[in-house]
Symmetry: D2
Subunit: 323 residues, 4 copies
Amino acid sequence: MKIKAGIIGGAGYTGGETLRLLLNHPQVEVAFVQSRSQAGKPATTTHHDLIGETDLIYSADFNQPVDVLFLCLSHGESKKLLSEHSFAANTRIIDLGNDFRMGDKAGERKFVYGLPEFQRDKIKQAKNIANPGCFATTIQLGLLPLAQAGLLTEVHTTGITGSTGAGQKLQDTTHFTWRANNISAYKTLTHQHLSEINQTLKELQLAFGGEVNFVPWRGDFTRGIFVTSVVTSALSLDELTKLYKDYYASHPFTHVSDEPVNLKQVVNTNKCLIHLEKIGNKLAVHSITDNLLKGASGQAIQNMNLMLGFDEIEGLRLKGSVF
Amino acid sequence: MKIKAGIIGGAGYTGGETLRLLLNHPQVEVAFVQSRSQAGKPATTTHHDLIGETDLIYSADFNQPVDVLFLCLSHGESKKLLSEHSFAANTRIIDLGNDFRMGDKAGERKFVYGLPEFQRDKIKQAKNIANPGCFATTIQLGLLPLAQAGLLTEVHTTGITGSTGAGQKLQDTTHFTWRANNISAYKTLTHQHLSEINQTLKELQLAFGGEVNFVPWRGDFTRGIFVTSVVTSALSLDELTKLYKDYYASHPFTHVSDEPVNLKQVVNTNKCLIHLEKIGNKLAVHSITDNLLKGASGQAIQNMNLMLGFDEIEGLRLKGSVF
Amino acid sequence: MKIKAGIIGGAGYTGGETLRLLLNHPQVEVAFVQSRSQAGKPATTTHHDLIGETDLIYSADFNQPVDVLFLCLSHGESKKLLSEHSFAANTRIIDLGNDFRMGDKAGERKFVYGLPEFQRDKIKQAKNIANPGCFATTIQLGLLPLAQAGLLTEVHTTGITGSTGAGQKLQDTTHFTWRANNISAYKTLTHQHLSEINQTLKELQLAFGGEVNFVPWRGDFTRGIFVTSVVTSALSLDELTKLYKDYYASHPFTHVSDEPVNLKQVVNTNKCLIHLEKIGNKLAVHSITDNLLKGASGQAIQNMNLMLGFDEIEGLRLKGSVF
Amino acid sequence: MKIKAGIIGGAGYTGGETLRLLLNHPQVEVAFVQSRSQAGKPATTTHHDLIGETDLIYSADFNQPVDVLFLCLSHGESKKLLSEHSFAANTRIIDLGNDFRMGDKAGERKFVYGLPEFQRDKIKQAKNIANPGCFATTIQLGLLPLAQAGLLTEVHTTGITGSTGAGQKLQDTTHFTWRANNISAYKTLTHQHLSEINQTLKELQLAFGGEVNFVPWRGDFTRGIFVTSVVTSALSLDELTKLYKDYYASHPFTHVSDEPVNLKQVVNTNKCLIHLEKIGNKLAVHSITDNLLKGASGQAIQNMNLMLGFDEIEGLRLKGSVF
């Protein structure tokens, strides 16, 4: 028997992506997709690609019982929602926003930070998940093995993100005429994901000073994040490669590539690929994800799978777009 | 028990796309992927996105028995291959090239033109399939209902294709510096797909004079085909819409959209979307596909499903890339 | 001594492009750049690329005397402006909108349709110019020689335009996430430029029935228009080539290319390139322009040059961006 | 009277860009454009955008006397050429390759490193110029004021470049299908431009240890370089801004922007824009150029202007493409 899932905030990018994944998930039935702005309209009104795949109508409310609830809301709105509405105690909640990533509770609900490569066992036992940010996921996956080994030094990271990271709201920096063939920087050294990154790194390596110097760039593409982090390391490339491969050996979506990586290897998949280079005493770690999948909705499904005891990759064998 | 499939010419774009689909097809086991140029190397050498998904090694030969064989070769090479090698009589062959689309035989093997929306029943009975061309598929799907109703007049079609249509060979027109943000025309009114288009249209409408004036353009994107065909019609938009919706009612991948369509609705899916507009006595039919899927490998899998009695959409519930 | 120019509506795309051209025009001094929304702010506030080139401040008014006035306003606003304000009789006005292209007057001011390849001599004598639309320019330049020779038959045209054609207003179809790698159709067979196109063609060829079937597409690039028009013709390619080359021999910006053309040959220039192909009894005419230059501001400067007796190409020797 | 210029290696990207600039330079006549591969063919054969602008034919040789000679050759070929051919002593030579940037001589010819913002006076006296690399220019312009003030500390730089930086040769990383919407890293921490960067920085700040950690990325656009460099600094943002503005006050192409910068502000211009941000004790310097202009051919013309006593910006008042 299939479990029942609900999506709140289904008309946005992560809501749509979560819906696409759930529609093809063999263990899940979508009970409702809620959207305040689109209530009463077909889901295909906003997600035009779903024509022929679903007749779901956006609902205004969301109080029918479900086994798992995905919150795909703007930052701040999840906390507000959970303070105003209560859901059955056995309903698992996965919040794709950033309201609960730093350990905040919603009443009795305690949220576990949902990065499986960091704490899969805790996620399996969790009732509520704070799904990590997209940059936070990509950067952490590039640094976890070092932190666990206590080898992390000051980090210099540059990351570039696709336009879907900025959501579907119309704004100057997502105007096609401006963004096409353009590159720009934003939130230099102050990106909000630094908090959750440092929280994880310090948990693994108590003495880590939290010096992640992160320069985010806006890219002229729609999907994906490419990150390069540079740290100082005394280990050889072979030692580092072994460290990373051992760390990720049991994780189905994160792979260490011996060959250089390029962003489109992971676009439209739930994968993270990592490539290491050692030059002198510097280690460069390249890590890539699809910001809407491993960086958002895909990881949310992965967390659902873990919480509900499904195969971790169920519903996530995605054909990449590759080109 | 799974059936066994083999791919010949697995290192190219359609070979790779066929492999990606077969790896996730629940009824199929990939017995071999052959590549002359890559024999002995992992499939991930050329299809970098498959890291973590398969350990397949390109084979040099292909003589182990399979239930279905996909030929993903350059034009002319399928005919050559079948003249030099023989395969078990019960091995179904699906040729993705253009060698057998006009009724040519390979020895005893007779090829059925594999456009399910045109002749699904024949395909179900077929042993050998000539998979249609990408432009041919997209243009035909926009015209089939008219031809079947005997309503086709002279057609003026413009179509634009992504760069994957030109294959992975390096050439001036696929140099990034040239093609980015560029548009150009090629094979004006002489595209090789006109033969198979006219063959189908004349079979449906005997009196059709074959006047499909087709202007192909190269687009500055990688995946997809957008086509607009203009014909003269005395029918109203309502009548035409009914004609099209009736025609495609039983076909799972081709849908008539009441709303205007945009190319990314179908990218990384096996769908074709159609939108009709009537202005004065002119009917404009917009039709869109992903050239590598409904225009090549996806349709090949669809044909395999039909021939082998699987659900037509098995292995083709693909998450579109959408953005 | 330099002449004085003013721009009304300087903060938009065509206003900015006109400003860029005038700043480098050796015969012109920019007296003012007016913008209602940006009054008091530097022109570099909206045209960020002009940093280091100009200290101009947007003005709220525009009543200082100038020799030539460029109206870069939304459609309908030029007519409104000229009904509310009067300008010195010897001030030449060039309207880049579509308010006066069909022969409308503004009080005593009669507007001449500003397509130099159609009626350069009339432009030289004009006091007021209605600058043609971008699609209108590109399509007409592909058809003028045929019309002048009385050879025009029913025309089937498809054209694709960059996003700058849609202006700088934020809208769904200019959202980067939507438009990147996407193609869509709009205003099928009903584009507003058809009126001015037919007006010109009928003036040249009285008997022309006005059957220009024009399918406009939105492209996933920012600058440029690529058009292919198909007509029936009994002439040979050589005869047609001679007809076109003779027609354009004295025109410095429009060239007939013996080689196939690609859009980037003209991007960031004031050129129009034309390429002819003859297949059977069909003639295909490919014509390309930069929609903001030959299709708007560049042609406006060209018209200014003609009216004021400057060299037609003054200020328009632009380095194309090419790549 | 105009001076005479020759181009050797005119068929490539920098050769073409140099030609485009010289054709519009009011003080220069192009005496010849040499190309071994294209000798005898019109320059428009390879530079299609120049149709209507020039009738120049590629020459096989280059021994007619010129005032200035531009070498637009692959790395290593300039040295070879100058060892095999001799040019008149009063012919100034500007080498756009990397053969002479580290102080090498060609016979009696001594080459001055042609970064005007670093040593304009030396360039004015020079007979031979080694034109800087594109990344080298962009990174140095972001660091020169710090180095001159002796304030440079270890530098962490990430830079992204357009595809024209890779030249016009067909290769896997410039295939459109691969590069579109893709990001990748190359030559991590080992880029060949580090030598010339460190040479300059050490000349300005003797004690600088040469620790520029540079991560280059390939971008999915054709023109431009965006660089962010992070250093430690005790100065305030105001102090740093003053330092940079003072340094560049007399330089016509390099500007310090108080607002964040985006790549397209400089595309198709000879400008470099710089934006500073201070967070804690870290200074982030963003610097942007067009790799083919300020990063190659534009700077070459700027150097020619300086050597020959022309206005530094002559022929370089370029209309940016902006969009």
